[in-house]
C-alpha cells in the first residue's frame, strides 16, 4: 500500500524533474501519468492486460481517486480572492464557457459518430 503511494510520488517527481530538465511546458504530474500508463502498457504485454495493474496499486489509486473531488476544494476556495475579477468579466467568462463547451461537445460527437459509421 505505502510502496504504491511511494511509486506515485516517484513518478510525479520524475515527471517534474524531466519537465524542468528539458524545459517542457507540460505540467510535471501529467508527464508522470503518461509514464505510468506506458509502464502499465508494457506490463500488460508481459503479464496480460488483466494482471497489469498490481492489486496494491489498484487500492491506492481507487482510494485517492475516490475522493478526488475533495482535493480541488482548497484551490477552489482561492476563487474568493478573485471575486472582483469574476464580477467585472462575468460576460466574457460566461460566453466563453457556454460557447466553447457546447461547440466542443457538438464537434466531437458528430465527428466521432461519422468516423464510427465507416467499417
Amino acid at each position: 500500500m505505502l510502496s504504491m503511494l511511494a511509486l506515485l510520488l516517484v513518478f510525479q517527481l520524475a515527471g517534474e524533474a524531466l519537465c524542468h530538465a528539458l524545459a517542457l511546458p507540460v505540467p510535471g504530474p501529467v508527464v508522470g501519468m503518461v509514464a505510468l500508463v506506458l509502464v502499465l502498457i508494457a506490463r500488460g504485454i508481459w503479464v496480460g492486460p488483466d494482471a497489469a495493474v498490481p492489486p496494491d496499486l489498484e487500492r491506492v489509486t481507487s482510494t485517492l481517486l475516490g475522493h478526488l473531488s475533495l482535493l480541488f476544494v482548497p484551490a477552489g476556495v482561492g476563487v474568493t480572492t478573485h471575486l472582483a475579477l469574476l464580477a467585472s468579466e462575468a460576460v466574457p467568462i460566461t460566453v466563453a464557457l457556454v460557447g466553447s463547451t457546447v461547440a466542443a461537445i457538438a464537434v466531437a460527437g458528430v465527428l466521432m459518430a461519422r468516423l464510427e459509421r465507416r467499417p
Binding site: 502498457i41 489509486t61 466521432m112
Partner: protein, 235 residues
Amino acid sequence: MMHGLTDIWVYLARDPLFGLTLTVLAYLAADVVYRRLKMHPLANPVLWSVVVLGLVLAGTGISYDRYFQGAQFIHVLLGPATVALAVPLYRALNMLRSGWPGVAVALLASVLVASLGAIGLGIAFGAGDTTVASLAPKSVTTPIAMGISERIGGLPSLTAVLVILTGILGAVLGPSVLNALGVRNPRARGIALGAAAHGIGTARAFNESPEAGYAASLAMGGAGVLTAVVLPILW
C-alpha cells in the same frame, strides 16, 4: 466565560488544523447533499464546498492564506492523484482497443475547439489576459487544468472553478446538444462528454450506459494529455 470562548476561537482560527478540518467537513456535508439529490450536476459537491467555505472565511474574517496553511495538506495530494489517473486511463485504453484513430481525431478536434473557442470568445468579449489564460484549459480534468493554467500565466484557483462550471454545463446541456444533432452512438456520446466536460461529463455518460462511460473516461484522459501538450505550445 465569553472571554474564554473568544480566546479559544482566536487560537483555533490560527491553527492550521482549522483550515484542514473545515475543508473536510464542508466537503463531507456537500457530498451527502449531492448523493441525496441523486448526483445531479447542479449539486456538485466541489462547487458547494467552495461556496460554503468562501462564506465561512468572509464571515469570520480569516484570510485565504491562513486557511490555506491548513488546507494545503489536502492540496498537495493533487500531484500523486494526477499520476493515479494513469490506472483508469489504462483500463479505458484496454476497453476500446479498436477504432482508436477515430477517437484520436475526435479528441484533437474537441481539444482545439474547446481551448481555442474559449480563448477566442474570451478575447472577443473583452476578457483580460489572465482570465483568458485561466479559461483556456477549462475543459480538462481539474488537476491537469490547474497545472496548465499555472504554466501559461493563468490563476489556478480561477481555473479550478471554471473547470467545475464547465463540467456542470457539459453534463446539463451536453445530452440535449447530442440529441439535437442526432448523435445516438454511445461511444460518440461518451467521447464528446468526456473530452469537453471531464469527470462531471464522464459521470453523466456512465448514467447513459457503461459503453458511453468507458469512452468518456478514455476521452477525459486523452483530452487532458493532448491539452497539456498543445495549449502551452500554442500559447
